[in-house]
């Protein structure tokens, strides 16, 4: 497991990955367990519909059909909870990838070896992609099993599409955090920058449909490309997915270039 930087990073992350996996499974189990209760109690839907439109739009998106498995998961999980978790995971990973080694001082010994700086950044990025994808895959698997147990009527390929879309959103912000860490070498700063951008992007996407002057700017939010095409219903939108992949690639390149060109901190 210590053959290269990618494998070593995965090895370092194995415990955290295990707990994240367990957490995602727990979340899936709870959500799935609640579904039959809510589906069979129509007053819940009526109750939810009695909330102001703005309130629902902020926390559950525009989908308020809680009687179908698809509508329920879109509202309860995929609008806020799941992307938020993917962001937290990927930002946590990306922000520390370079910056925490630099702050701890282990970067000196690592880079005294015949290893290009850009190569190090790329390896860390690949490890982040693998781990984030694993977290998303575990979540998908848990929901897929739940789908059979309580008969939610979900299409597993479409379920995979929305999970994958969330993974793309996660690594978009993970690579932003990576870029800040590469440019400035400060772990805290890159968590803060990635997290703050994530919150703004979420709010922009959630509120834009409700506020007239904000609406044209919705397309500036990565969240829009994650969920607006409703991948759980329609499958992955290739254009929207490409936007997220493109953003990720841009921030990866920025990470590599800035890290190549600056002085490393002692």
């Amino acid at each position: 497991m210590l053959c290269n930087v990618i494998l070593k990073t995965l090895r370092d992350r194995r415990r955290s990955l295990l707990f994240w996996g367990l957490g995602m499974v727990a979340l899936a189990v709870i959500m799935v367990a609640f579904f039959p209760v809510i589906r069979d109690a129509p007053f819940v839907s009526e109750y939810l519909e009695s909330f102001p439109e703005e309130f629902m739009a902020l926390f559950a998106g525009e989908i308020t059909d809680y009687t179908s498995g698809e509508g329920f998961l879109n509202g309860e999980l995929f609008f806020l909870m799941y992307p938020l978790l993917m962001l937290i995971y990927a930002i946590g990973f990306g922000s520390g990838a370079i910056a925490s080694e630099e702050e701890k001082g282990t970067l000196d010994l690592l880079l005294s070896n015949p290893l290009n700086r850009w190569q190090l950044v790329l390896d860390k990025f690949i490890a982040m992609v693998i781990c984030t994808l694993l977290v998303a895959a575990v979540f998908w698997a848990a929901l897929a099993i739940g789908n059979v147990v309580v008969d939610m009527g979900l299409n597993l390929a479409r379920l995979a599409a929305v999970c994958f879309s969330g993974f793309l959103l996660g690594i978009t912000f993970g690579s932003i955090a990576l870029a800040v860490g590469c440019a400035r070498g400060k772990h805290g700063l890159s968590i803060g920058a990635g997290g703050a951008l994530g919150v703004y992007a979420y709010l922009l996407n959630a509120l834009a449909p409700l506020i007239g002057w904000l609406e044209p700017f919705q397309v500036a939010s990565p969240f829009y490309y994650y969920i607006d095409a409703n991948p759980l219903k329609n499958g992955l939108d290739p254009v929207h997915a490409s936007v997220l992949i493109g953003l990720t690639a841009i921030f990866l390149v920025i990470s590599m270039v800035t890290f190549e060109r600056r002085d490393l901190a002692v």
């Binding site: 001082g105 282990t106 000196d108 005294s112 015949p114 002692v266």
Partner: protein, 303 residues
């Protein structure tokens, strides 16, 4: 420029930080097979110079090449051929020593494990221990082992003996000797004069970011000022001691004579031997005293 005997060559190497002092116009020419000591107090610019050599930081101006290869362009090829010990060594705490070395060896494309085990034995280092649990001295040992384990052409060691107990320091000096015998070049920084005297062929003295002298170690020893204290059985007069070459600042308090001396102490000892000597104490020169020797010299030559 393509002098084959030159391993490290720096020309007017300068690193300017905002308000902090960096290094200024450092010229170095480290020849193949020599052990070069980079001597100076903490904060003088030793680590800054070394980090430029490793391409961790970039010079504000000046050129530097290693093995005749430009550091800015060929740093990867250079790093294939060097062993490096960071000044403030930090390693992955979650690994054992063996795991750390395994990881590093993969990055370098393999290593002679027989030699690693031999070094671990010599340093009395337990490779199976998790690095988290190690004392500072033991961490330093793993740092040394990884620097030496590929038998590199050039060793760059930043304050290598910090934290090592005296026995392990001796082992380290032997290791340096062996590396030199096999043709390796060593560039080591230190703030301890006796250590540099012990292992180095040549010494560069750096102070406040400037290289103030580069000398063969013998010359340095000759010029180094030591403080001597001689205890006599009866009072002596300072007169005849004042006239000995190299002796200065003679002071006599009853039975005790103190003075400073540059170079050999032979004449002084023979003069003292005419009396009944109870004790003779020689103080190792501090960094300040070494600098003074050079500044006094410069002042003299300026006059």
């Amino acid at each position: 420029m393509t002098d084959n005997d030159s391993v490290i060559r720096a020309e007017q190497l300068t690193k300017l930080y905002g308000k902090q002092r960096g290094i200024l116009d450092i010229d170095l020419d480290i020849r193949r097979g020599e052990v070069f000591g980079y001597l100076g107090p903490n904060g003088a610019g030793k680590t800054t110079t070394i980090r430029i050599l490793l391409h961790f930081i970039f010079p504000s101006r000046g050129n530097v090449s290693i093995f005749g290869l430009n550091v800015a362009r060929k740093h990867l090829e250079i790093r294939r051929r060097i062993g490096y010990l960071p000044g403030e060594l930090e390693v992955y705490n979650n690994l054992t020593g063996a795991e750390l070395l395994e990881f590093i060896s993969h990055l370098r494309g393999g290593v002679d494990w027989q030699y690693v085990r031999e070094m671990a034995e010599r340093f009395d280092y337990d490779l199976s221990q998790r690095i988290k649990t190690l004392s500072h001295g033991n961490r330093q040992k793993i740092g040394l082992i990884q620097a030496f384990m590929n038998k590199p052409e050039l060793l760059i060691l930043d304050e290598p003996t910090i934290g090592l107990d005296p026995l392990m320091q001796q082992e380290f000096y032997r290791l340096i000797g062996e590396a030199r015998a096999e043709g390796s070049t060593v560039f080591l920084s230190s703030h301890i004069m006796p250590e540099v005297e012990r292992v180095c062929d040549r010494v560069g003295i750096i102070r406040e970011g400037r290289l103030i002298a580069v000398e063969d170690i013998d010359v340095l020893k000759e010029r180094a000022i030591r403080r001597l204290e001689i205890h006599f059985a009866a009072p002596v007069s300072p007169g005849e001691f004042n006239n000995i070459e190299g002796v200065r600042d003679v002071q006599v308090h009853e039975n005790i004579l103190t003075c400073t001396i540059a170079g050999e102490i032979d004449t002084l000892v023979k003069t003292a031997a005419r009396y009944h000597v109870l004790n003779l104490i020689s103080h190792e020169p501090s960094m300040e005293e070494i600098f003074l020797a050079y500044y006094n010299q410069e002042d003299n030559s300026a006059m």
